[in-house]
Symmetry: C2
Subunit: 389 residues, 2 copies
């Protein structure tokens, strides 16, 4: 593993109140409780879990999740897979389409490398042309290797994937005809369902997804193509896929850190009580009668799923965060009891969406002992930050 | 300057159609025409220009702008100033408040370092406490050095800055009493006005800002405190500040690359015809009857000022980009003549907002000879990417 820059190494052992801002901080105790809850949930439901590393982008965290029982990692990008593999992760699924020839050559070489280490690489496909291109790249760059292939079906997301049923069967048959490709099952992820805030809406969306996946699985099985695995799910809906009897693997990743948008979800009773573990530490750099200004704007946290909320304030002292641009946040005290924070005051933000927030930072600062008086225990490198290709 | 990673070095000389995706590409010819237009505009209006490096975050580009006539660089963050200084930029203004003691010590040390190199550092202030903290840090960390201090006035942005007039006078007097601080003028930036799409709205907003700045300048001058400089402005309004007779320096940065939101501005006739020079190259990775999916989502481009537009399409073949999440874009052909792009087809996106888009990438790929058949000439490091503190 690459050594940390000296300036970061020096932060280990600092008290959390000494951390300069903005800083992306992980409450390690909360994160580890989330991991234990997820491991326990998967064990009880007898499903595999392969947390999505597009969220944390860290090999160190992927390996920590594996020690807790995860079977490997999911990624969205070839470059993410390469970054995790460089950090020692050996079982990786790319839950996405790869079409470009130079990238498919990288996929093929990575499949060979992981296979030589006793691991494996899997890739999603959703077109005959994609399968053909993959086979050609494997033949060219890794003639001795095999790659696991998941046929992606669209179960409601409306993005990639073929329709369930016959189109999926045709692709699975195409995969099965090619010796270097191993048909490994169905990728059936309903991303939009994760962020439906009503519990009933999510349940209904996943009921339809489960029905589509089951129908496709049964069709393939009847055609002589057993389906080793149906994989998908996310933090918002995992109770439904886990109980479905169809999904064998959960890809949920956000449970590790959580975010303000998931906090808006109406919770199912069966859902593990995941806690917020990711925060942006910020401080007030300007204040006047009407508002205060903090030093965290949307270069510190992603705003695609809404603005951050201000956490850990005393009761009755809520502050509203408004967008102040790339580098600033505006803080308003909307209730009569609330007081605006003073110059220099430290505040904790809960980002709207954890995945693209982590992607803005090169390092996560891991704090042990709580955010009030804890100490920096680990600096975690975001290995795949900016790994876009 | 740090060497480029080998994999990037290898891209120099590649034809643009060989570049894998997503890639952040700068049309160097367009960028250099924009620089020439800006230099010409500033010369004609006899104003200084100090382009904001919070946009490009590159020392190499800041130095290129200086060779074309810029007097130095603006930044928003201490860490950005440090990154530019490490790359050879010697005249830097931090157009923002710094309050934290550890950060002010870094400011003081940087001021001393730049001064020793014949350069200078300037910092904005908007509170008596901020001035006091700065003076203490200078005394502690750089007792032999001086720092330029700009009093920030709020001319309509509603973020940092004291009200124009008496409050600014009180701060300027406080600065003038401290021997290590040199009162360098007024920072008067109206950020919101840049993105008012109507030309008349922008003109009216800046007329009010100019009036506030002039009043404050005259008040300070009458009180025996000459104002060496009023600085501010941006790409959306620079024609007004340049013509005001009050602003002596333009901070506009986006003119270099431009973006989809600036393209929505109704243009003033006096505005130089800045061209789009920044693009995200993407390709289609999945396609069906209703839509195509490309490999650029909001980890490739910022969406705070709206979604990207699809550029460089043949007439009548417009495509609409819709958000497909962190790693995907959805493409729709809304007109009857339009055709959905095929699997593997390359497309060019114009990001909604250039500043936070550049901040997602470690490198800019500079192409010479146009985006159809050009060649990669330079790989430009985004030195201050993620420089948040």
């Amino acid at each position: 593993m690459k050594p940390l820059p000296e300036t970061l190494e020096a932060r280990i052992g600092l008290r959390v109140n000494q951390l300069d801002t903005p800083a992306l901080v992980v409450d390690l105790d909360a994160m580890e409780r989330n991991i234990a809850r997820m491991a326990d949930f998967a064990r009880k439901h007898r499903v595999l879990w392969r947390p999505h590393a597009k969220m944390h982008k860290s090999a160190e965290i992927a390996l920590q999740l594996q020690r807790a029982g995860a079977v490997g990692a999911c990624v969205q990008k070839t470059a993410e897979a390469e970054a995790l593999a460089a950090g020692g992760v050996r079982d990786i699924t790319i839950t996405n389409q790869v079409i470009a020839h130079p990238k498919l050559l990288r996929v093929a070489r990575l499949a060979a490398r992981l296979q030589a280490q006793g691991g494996r690489l899997a890739l999603a496909v959703d077109s005959a042309e994609g399968i053909q291109r993959l086979a050609e790249a494997m033949a060219q760059a890794a003639p001795q290797a095999r790659i696991d292939v998941l046929v992606e079906i669209d179960v409601g997301q409306g993005r990639c994937g073929v329709p369930p049923g016959e189109p999926a069967l045709a692709l699975a048959q195409a995969v099965a005809r090619l010796t270097q490709l191993r048909f490994a099952g169905l990728h059936a992820y309903h991303g939009r369902a994760q962020h439906l805030h009503g519990a009933a809406e999510r349940r209904d969306a996943i009921a339809a997804a489960v029905q589509a996946a089951r129908h496709t699985r049964d069709l393939l099985t009847a055609a002589g193509l057993p389906v080793p695995l149906v994989t998908g799910s996310g933090t918002g809906t995992l109770v439904h896929e886990a109980a479905s009897g169809v999904y064998g693997e959960l890809q949920a990743g956000s449970f590790l850190f959580m975010d303000a948008d998931y906090a808006r979800n109406e919770r199912e009773p069966a859902q593990p009580a995941f806690e917020q573990a990711l925060f942006v530490k910020t401080q007030v750099i300007s204040a006047c009668d009407s508002h205060a200004v903090c030093d965290a704007g949307h270069k510190s946290h992603a705003i695609d799923s809404g603005l951050p909320t201000v956490a850990l304030l005393p009761p009755g002292r809520a502050l509203r965060y408004a967008n102040g641009g790339d580098e600033h946040g505006l803080l308003y005290a909307d209730s009569p009891q609330a007081r605006l924070p003073a110059l220099g005051q430290m505040l904790w933000l809960v980002p709207g969406h954890c995945d693209p927030t982590v992607n803005l930072h090169d390092f996560l600062i891991g704090v042990r002992g709580g955010l009030a008086t804890g100490v920096v225990e680990r600096i975690i490198r975001v290995d795949a930050r900016g790994a876009l290709t």
